[in-house]
Point group: C2
Chain length 320, copies 2
Amino acid sequence: MITLKQLRYLSALARLRHFGRAAQDCAVTQPALSMQIRELEREIGVDLVERRPGEVGFTEAGREVVERADLILAAARDLVEVARHRGRPLSGALRFGVIPTIAPYVLPRVLPALQQRYPELTLDMRETQTHVLLDELSRGQLDVVMLALPVDNPDLQAKPLFEDRFLLALPAKRAPRGDAPVSPRDVDPSELILLEEGHCLRDQALAFCAVSRRDAGVPMSSVSATPARLGATSLATVTQMVANGYGVTLMPEIAVDVELRDERVRVMRFSAPEPARLIGLVWRRTSPRVADFMALGDVIVDALGVAPAAPDALRRLAAS
Amino acid sequence: MITLKQLRYLSALARLRHFGRAAQDCAVTQPALSMQIRELEREIGVDLVERRPGEVGFTEAGREVVERADLILAAARDLVEVARHRGRPLSGALRFGVIPTIAPYVLPRVLPALQQRYPELTLDMRETQTHVLLDELSRGQLDVVMLALPVDNPDLQAKPLFEDRFLLALPAKRAPRGDAPVSPRDVDPSELILLEEGHCLRDQALAFCAVSRRDAGVPMSSVSATPARLGATSLATVTQMVANGYGVTLMPEIAVDVELRDERVRVMRFSAPEPARLIGLVWRRTSPRVADFMALGDVIVDALGVAPAAPDALRRLAAS
DNA sequence: GGTCGCGATCAGTTAAACTGATCGAATGAT
DNA sequence: ATCATTCGATCAGTTTAACTGATCGCGACC
């Protein structure tokens, strides 16, 4: 029978790709780790690791096993947590991840409310892009993350919190008078200023414009190419670029208060159906602290003063 | 850190509710098992087992932990299997469960085909009711089960195979001439002969008649009561009861060839939309042998000569 | 050709797990 | 009440597994 210890060592090895450092990470000596990896390979009868000079590689079977090992380890940690924490809501340390296009706008308003309402809670924060957050969540390095749904992973569970509409931000000079809504098909993707590759907001904005223009009869080929300007690292930068007349952008409503103090930028609503992203919480399905996450979600919605997402928000999202 | 061994011992204890026998089941002595259970409780800081005289009970935390432990153990077994069996389809032992209202009609036709096509395969068969099958499946005591969908358990995955329509079986004497389809609302639940409690077929038949009659304006109260005649243990018995004029029954089409050799019984189609159950395969989401199950499903559909279920059969089922 | 990094291997030690015997509480029959 | 029985806890001693520290051997790189 394999042991959790072996899986832990294997997981560390996969993460660090180095026997010595993995051993250190597990607080054992290198031979101890080597032996356990070896024993694991012997017991399941398949080579998992390719010991190549200068580099540790994984066989295909190895990658598969590592993936499963991480799930098992997370489930084991959750088992311990659920037993220890039963009955005490939102207490102890909660490792919370948020994507960069939400964090700066939501946290300043949520954290004080959270602190006040659940003083026993200690938040460990982490801000990165969706794919990193989900990876760390699956590995059990995070407890819950806040990002744009949907998340397609049966090991994870989501709770929609609210809809965050996109607004068109453009140089004030170019803005039409009045505040009549603008149609998404009026946005020319080639002058869209976007965040760098990897931000989900970038993909959502692109997808939205692409779909709109295809509906309007514009051939796909003219939109599928990535726009010329790529790679702002924050919405603040994007806003600056817009302010200086370099183009337009899709700005999430949640960011408007903070980002759009600049008079050189105007925002305009889109005509219905307004494009939006669905913001929600995501956690491991095996996580013992679902009650915590629900409470956390309530506090967030409350602190932001937004309309909570409809219960069927996720389903409608999937349908579209 | 807890160990898989501890979880295995705990799981055995939960199953057998007896330290001595659990120890025997795990091939260790009773003190060894006692010590590991104790150590597990110490490590997670919660009492799991109530050592009551004459009986071993579980605390609420204990039950929760046992449930999670079983999942983890199954995932660990699957991890080993996936590594060992990669690339060899339908070989080795496959533990296969089937519900009683399918097994006698499907297996005689499927098993020979399976044997011929995949001679390396050894099937361990098990026939019981849905809830037992699903329980054993979750615990890892079965690899795959065949039953009526849907199955609402996020740890399990399903593949629809085919639709099995229900036909009305009634005494030949009472049957109208010709073979015009009969409306489900014509069926009087009070004269329905059904399998004993626990068979999913029973519930489906009842639900179907109830819905039909409610649609037809018959008040619910007159159908919600369980019918007077309860408890045949096999469709063969039910058929005999119908043959002898005790009532009518809903007969799955798949069983008609075998069961209805009796001239005293007539079957009639229902008018569209015909009531049916969706038969499918179900396995643990973590199971490594999904490819096997797909192949198995193909062989079953093939051997029965039925129309394979539409890919969206499950979705439509959920919608209804 | 030396040396540096890295994982394998080995011998010896430490720690964990298990066994067999025994204990003690609860139960139920006499 | 008494006594046998059952069952889990406990204990001492043994076996087994895991780990350490030292060493080896092999590519890589200067």
